[in-house]
């Protein structure tokens, strides 16, 4: 394998940098951020075929990590395996969120723990108005966490405030979820749901696909507004352009079912310039 280290010699690695900081500047209150999502040696099969093959990845709290990779690398498989879709069989390894074993939980319980997936292709839910759907989801999550349900007036206020920010129209909120929505509207609705459900760990699966540049900006602003010290994100994308708007802390290359390279935001630029060919034999 030809490493990118030679291409970008000045790149610094967190794992080398951070211990030095903590050793030399003892007076600084800054501590190493705790790991939020931790994936170790994950193996995922679909119909008996191994798609994810020994993937290891840690995402600390407050960080945005991007996963890039060629088609068929297993990007969507990773997001479905983490969220518990049936047919995505985990045959090895672990995945924890704040130390909680995700793989042992039903999809709805993973959601209640704060895991959110923005779908590459959001599903249409005929007959269920978007707002009804969202209030049902929010209150189901709150119940699962032992919290009180949100009252209708509180929910209406929240949904209106967020809608204004994300350009979600009252018509979209009333219509059955995603039914008859354009590609851009569906993606905006995903981010709208994300903003209202306020998850702690977000997976954005090809959120940029099907978006024109204006819609991409609205969606990115919505995503950036959710960044914070207690939230983390995994941004799965094929292209660099989304990462111009949502700047990642780390970029990982997924090829052949495992992470084959990691680096800072500049890695995405290098990939954009050189493509994924160099990783062909990495897996």
């Amino acid at each position: 394998m030809r490493s990118l280290h030679s291409v970008i010699p000045d790149r610094k690695r967190d794992d080398q940098l951070l211990p030095i900081v903590s050793k030399t500047k003892k007076a600084m209150p800054r501590t190493m951020p705790r790991t939020m999502l931790s994936i170790k040696n994950l193996i995922v099969d679909i119909d008996g075929k191994t798609i994810i093959n020994g993937l290891t990845l840690d995402v600390p709290a407050g960080q945005v990590h991007a996963i890039m990779g060629p088609n068929g690398a297993g990007k969507s498989t990773l997001s479905y395996a983490l969220t518990g879709r049936s047919g995505y069989e985990v045959t090895g390894g672990t995945a924890t969120l704040d130390g909680i074993d995700l793989l042992a939980l039903a999809p709805e319980d993973r959601a209640a723990k704060g895991l959110f997936l923005s779908f590459q292709y959001p599903l249409e839910i005929p007959g269920v108005p978007s707002l009804t759907f969202l209030r049902t989801a929010l209150n189901a999550q709150r119940r699962a966490r032992g919290e009180d349900e949100m009252s209708v007036p509180d929910f209406m206020k929240l949904s209106r405030d967020v809608a204004k920010r994300l350009g979600v129209t009252p018509d979209m909120m009333k219509r059955p979820l995603n039914v008859g929505f354009s590609g851009g509207e569906k993606k905006r609705m995903e981010i709208y749901q994300m903003a209202i459900l306020a998850p702690r760990f977000m997976i954005l699966d090809e959120t940029d696909s099907g978006l024109d540049i204006d819609a991409l900006r609205v969606v990115s602003e919505g995503v950036n507004a959710l960044r914070g010290p207690d939230r983390s994100m995994l941004v799965i994308t094929h292209y660099q352009r989304l990462l111009d708007l949502i700047t990642p802390d780390r970029v990982h290359v997924l090829a052949g079912g495992k992470i084959v390279d990691s680096g800072g935001p500049e890695l995405a630029l290098a990939l954009e310039a050189d493509g994924y060919d160099r990783y062909k034999d990495a897996a």
Partner: protein, 394 residues
């Protein structure tokens, strides 16, 4: 040709014993003696074996007639009860209620023959002015109903009928005559228990520019069959027949419609949607017959069903029979499972599986109930759907 007398089942014997010594009783008796009750070998009953359902005899009548819901408190209630006919509420102007002896209804089949024979009287509603308040026809367990509604030219009336017996044989025969430009709306709730045999036949004629619109919510029973035979006799007559069914356990419900267009420019809209779980069986047989004279007919029929369990069954037979050459007729029929992708999507948002399934099923059948324009009745039936969802634990 010699008549072969079939061996009578306990149910047939018990039913024969109930039939009166009258012309209408004799007509039903002859029908049963010759062929027995229909079995699956009879095409029109191939998924609804009435003989088998009654093989062990007639279960005793049980259950309640149900309360009149709050939203229909203004209704005129006509009770078909064991001790006779009861009328509650204020009778509107332009409505007369009379009774006459029940006579055979020729050529409509075994169910109306039995229903006609068992009914002690025919209640005749003559409506000469539009009725603001609905007319609520309440069938008590074990009390047969026969009614004829004659809606005069241009009048509007809403009928609500229920069949809620938990056990026993219940029958109803409705003859509805829609005069020119009149509008008759019918809303039906059927919810029978595991020992309920519910046989209903509606015989409808619609004159020029008249409208018959019916919506039924059905939860089935041991055997429930609701037939509607409608004829669009006058030019530009309209017919809308919709139904939603939700079946569980060993429940059975059969919606059989036969809509005949005999005049020009008539329209038919038919939408049936249902969901079945456990070992339940839903049956839809819908025939639209367009006669040669009925040019410019516009008829659409749709039936869509969800199978919620492996052992559930849905049988559908959509039929278009067209003899006119300038018509627009279409039908659609689908039977499938809940969309797994949609379920995963909902669960990913935190909605538990049972609730996700209920939301999807409810949304699926609600499309039918949403057509009801009487707001109170729509909410009433929606409430029954929700209650079923809670009880069925999908």
């Amino acid at each position: 040709m010699g008549l072969v007398s079939p061996i009578l089942t306990a149910g047939e014997t018990a039913l024969l014993a109930l039939l009166p010594e009258s012309e209408v009783g004799e007509a039903a008796r002859t029908a049963i003696r010759i062929g027995g009750l229909p079995t699956r070998r009879v095409e029109a009953f191939k998924w609804s074996d009435l003989r088998a359902a009654l093989a062990d005899g007639l279960p005793p009548a049980d259950g309640s007639a149900g309360m009149v819901p709050e939203c229909l408190q203004d209704a005129l209630v006509i009770d078909f009860a064991p001790d006779g006919l009861g009328i509650e509420g204020d009778k509107g102007a332009g409505l007369t209620i009379e009774t006459e002896s029940s006579q055979p209804l020729d050529g409509a089949g075994i169910i109306p023959a039995i229903a006609a024979a068992l009914a002690p009287k025919t209640v005749v509603l003559t409506i000469t002015e539009s009725q603001a308040a609905p007319i609520f026809l309440r069938r008590h367990p074990g009390s047969p109903m026969r009614i004829r509604v004659e809606a005069a030219e241009g009048v509007e009336v809403t009928l609500v009928d229920t069949g809620l017996a938990t056990s026993g044989l219940s029958t109803a025969l409705l003859e509805i005559v829609v005069a020119g430009g009149a509008k008759v709306t019918r809303i039906t709730l059927q919810d029978g228990g595991s020992a309920a045999i519910d046989l209903v036949h509606a015989h409808v004629t619609i004159a020029a520019g008249g409208l018959y619109e019916a919506t039924a919510l059905t939860f089935g029973g041991r055997f429930a069959r609701a037939e509607t035979f409608a004829t669009l006799q006058g030019q530009g007559a309209h017919c809308r027949i919709d139904g939603a069914y939700l079946l569980s356990g060993h429940g059975h419900a059969d919606a059989t419609t036969r809509i005949t267009h005999s005049a020009e420019g008539g329209t038919t809209r038919e939408l049936f949607k249902g969901a079945v779980k456990d070992k339940a069986r839903g049956v839809f047989q819908g025939k639209i017959l367009v006669e040669r004279a009925a040019q410019k007919t516009d008829a659409r029929q749709n039936h869509h069903a969800l199978m919620l369990s492996e052992g559930a069954e849905v049988d559908a037979k959509p039929e278009l029979e067209i003899y006119a050459d300038d018509v627009a007729c279409a039908h659609g029929n689908t039977v499938g499972a809940l969309d797994e992708s949609a379920l995963f999507y909902m669960r990913q948002r935190g909605i538990p599986l049972v609730q996700a399934r209920a939301l999807l099923v409810q949304a699926f059948v609600t499309e039918v109930l949403d057509i009801i324009t009487h707001e109170g009745a729509r909410d009433w039936l929606s409430g029954r759907v929700e209650a079923w969802m809670d009880a069925a634990s999908l």
